[in-house]
Symmetry: D3
Subunit: 179 residues, 6 copies
Amino acid sequence: MSVAIKLNGFPCKVDITADDFFFAGLKRAGNTNNAAGSNVTAANVQSFPGVNTLGVSMARIDYAPGGQNPPHTHPRATEIIFVLEGVLEVGFITTANKLFTKTVTVGDVFAFPRGLVHFQQNRGRGPASVIAGFNSQLQGTQVIATTLFAAAPPVPSDVLAKAFRIDNGQVDAIKAKFM
Amino acid sequence: MSVAIKLNGFPCKVDITADDFFFAGLKRAGNTNNAAGSNVTAANVQSFPGVNTLGVSMARIDYAPGGQNPPHTHPRATEIIFVLEGVLEVGFITTANKLFTKTVTVGDVFAFPRGLVHFQQNRGRGPASVIAGFNSQLQGTQVIATTLFAAAPPVPSDVLAKAFRIDNGQVDAIKAKFM
Amino acid sequence: MSVAIKLNGFPCKVDITADDFFFAGLKRAGNTNNAAGSNVTAANVQSFPGVNTLGVSMARIDYAPGGQNPPHTHPRATEIIFVLEGVLEVGFITTANKLFTKTVTVGDVFAFPRGLVHFQQNRGRGPASVIAGFNSQLQGTQVIATTLFAAAPPVPSDVLAKAFRIDNGQVDAIKAKFM
Amino acid sequence: MSVAIKLNGFPCKVDITADDFFFAGLKRAGNTNNAAGSNVTAANVQSFPGVNTLGVSMARIDYAPGGQNPPHTHPRATEIIFVLEGVLEVGFITTANKLFTKTVTVGDVFAFPRGLVHFQQNRGRGPASVIAGFNSQLQGTQVIATTLFAAAPPVPSDVLAKAFRIDNGQVDAIKAKFM
Amino acid sequence: MSVAIKLNGFPCKVDITADDFFFAGLKRAGNTNNAAGSNVTAANVQSFPGVNTLGVSMARIDYAPGGQNPPHTHPRATEIIFVLEGVLEVGFITTANKLFTKTVTVGDVFAFPRGLVHFQQNRGRGPASVIAGFNSQLQGTQVIATTLFAAAPPVPSDVLAKAFRIDNGQVDAIKAKFM
Amino acid sequence: MSVAIKLNGFPCKVDITADDFFFAGLKRAGNTNNAAGSNVTAANVQSFPGVNTLGVSMARIDYAPGGQNPPHTHPRATEIIFVLEGVLEVGFITTANKLFTKTVTVGDVFAFPRGLVHFQQNRGRGPASVIAGFNSQLQGTQVIATTLFAAAPPVPSDVLAKAFRIDNGQVDAIKAKFM
């Protein structure tokens, strides 16, 4: 067959050095000048190949005032955050549809179990930031709103309309916001 | 401490018999007379204790004409379906925000990778049904719309408004539909 | 070295589409015109590459009247079946040498724990069929009788004679049936 | 409910000592005066509770002249043996129905992959013995002949007759040998 | 038997709330007024029961000027650190006996693979601190020097003398420092 | 990129035979004429490729009179030993810094949990030997003294001096012994 193939997972370097286990990309805040008012900078196997096969990764999340890391899931990892700065309302929803939410400030730790929908909302007056640890080299992320309303090709509007109990026009209006 | 505790996972029966590995609960179609027009009957460790520690479960999903199993995730399992009856549009969205969708009919098989948002929409004139296999004794389910708009306590409306780029009133209108 | 090598596991395609997660091969009954009177059609990573790394597979098993899926094991998977048609006597034997057996009919579910010897025997007047779910992309199968009496090269007859407490001639007679 | 339950797995002792990680039960050869002419002495979690949660166990297998460890499987472990004494023909059959067999003597090592049917047959003039390592605290064992012909309740004779392509009388004759 | 037993792992609370997933214990620097000049404050299942079964934990490590987190291993986890303050020389040794070392400052990330000996040494003029993420609810720690020279009962001095190629008197002198 | 890469793990052979699962390298005692007075002969995936993906390996350890297998860890495996000859003092230290030690003789079994520092010291008048089983195809080994005092490049002497509460000169003297 002439089908292009690739390895499962990521290849290993032959000549590794200490630099392969080092990553400077979380030093500075990400640019939060966007619709969500937040930025996720990942230190996972795609940006930091040294964690390949190690089962961990990190991320830095920055939040402008009023910014949010919108409701999302990580299919492959539990997340545990440490607050570097600011005041955040954080929460996740269980499979029994209970919301567990808490306001956290500098130095607080909060855990979001693997695969559950969760969010962080800046509730302070200034910027906020957290360091997140994951038990996967590549946590994967599905931001719910963009997954449903901005996928390519689009999720059929009638599917979303029925799911959210709105009409197709309202679905299309939301989709338009993400273009 | 006097905190009530429970076992991780589920206990084992001491005197097991063949009946523990048998489940008749998928014999009949579930009642689809509800808002989604669908019904999931689970054969997992909660209804079928014999799969405890076995790493598998099943479910039967029935769809009225026009019914849907709305966009949802299973935090702990990949799902693979076999169509028993009808015509369904099925799909999942990847972490790269691509929709993979297909119309399936009787005897077709489709796989939904672990943790990804997916849905099935009845596109035929009559009822539809599928048998789903999971690689977990308890797949867990988060139906996205109810997770976000019908959790208890509720997810703050401003969090949802910002996430979906609608206003608080629109959020509250959706929430009201789920009461 | 010039030894031919291959990857552990199976490669991934680079450009995947919805069709990679779709399989139509279970639509029709397999040909049961054989000694066992049964046919297993697999939807695993060998026939359905899209389940690669997903940890699930399916199979359709068809049984002629009087047919059987003879005693066998799956080294890598628990199996859970849903009966599509007919009446089957199913069973598995535990490591404590207890037989757990049950007669199942349309819509019934039965689970066979990973690695244990199990079988299904058509006990109805007509054909039977089941859909099986596995928690592995490649369950592997060892049909006991062919494993012991039809391997290549053959398992030594005196080993089998002593194991089954029969004489070498009886062993050779069974072997001859499988040629 | 008043159903008796037990823990999944095995409990841990509170006050452990070095003696919990020590086992003297493999010091002496087991009694091989039986039909198979062999004896398996296990150092697994049932006899040696200290390996609980450690993912390993051992066994000593002794073989009288002419004795065998008959074809069997371990659902939960790969086995690797080191020959202490004697000359053994060892083998396993793959899921592609190939027999891999070898004659091994003192100091030789051979590996039997998880879940595959395998055997050891004493081919020397004197006794033989091996030490086996397993990657499970409780490997589980199904001796094929007793699993099929000596289970309680018995596997139906017609199921076995069809599987081994013999008649019911021959099945019953084999069953009688195991009573 | 009347032997006291305990559960493998940790029990689950019945009535969980958001507070179970929240931990404030890393807010403040630990007391580094000790021989190593460092302090590890753990947010693992022993101090933060909410991470039970979640596969993650965190720790805050504080270092006085000149302080160190001495060479140690975590049997059950890879560690990934984010530097909160200061200048640290960090390193681990591979199973091929290569040292991988790096000087890290505020905002840098470094990963220490599971089970390998590693250390952090404050090389700045002021205090330093890091946040560590682990892919285990209970990483476990063996500080090499105390493991070997301060265990109870003591590791025999001649074993250590031969291992470190020093004499028994030198071993005893080191042991005396840890009393 | 022109960075050299390699596969994670080890490749599989295409045409395997029984010889791939056979290893004769543990037949004879290793050469114990060295500083430790011991020799480890490994039957793992590097010397015995047939255990690739099987999750087990073995080793033979020989000890001269007075010899030792010095304190070391295996990051990836629990070890279980069977004594072939001689008298050994064996032990491991827990994460609670307790030493569990025992004198073992021919036929005894002892288990060393994954990742914990452990040792064996010949306490008999003659040579000793053991067979070790591991639940990994490549257990990995860190001999503590050489890891800390003979790594390349060297672990900084002041780091070791502070860790062992000795002075830099004493560290350098130990390092010199390993050159």
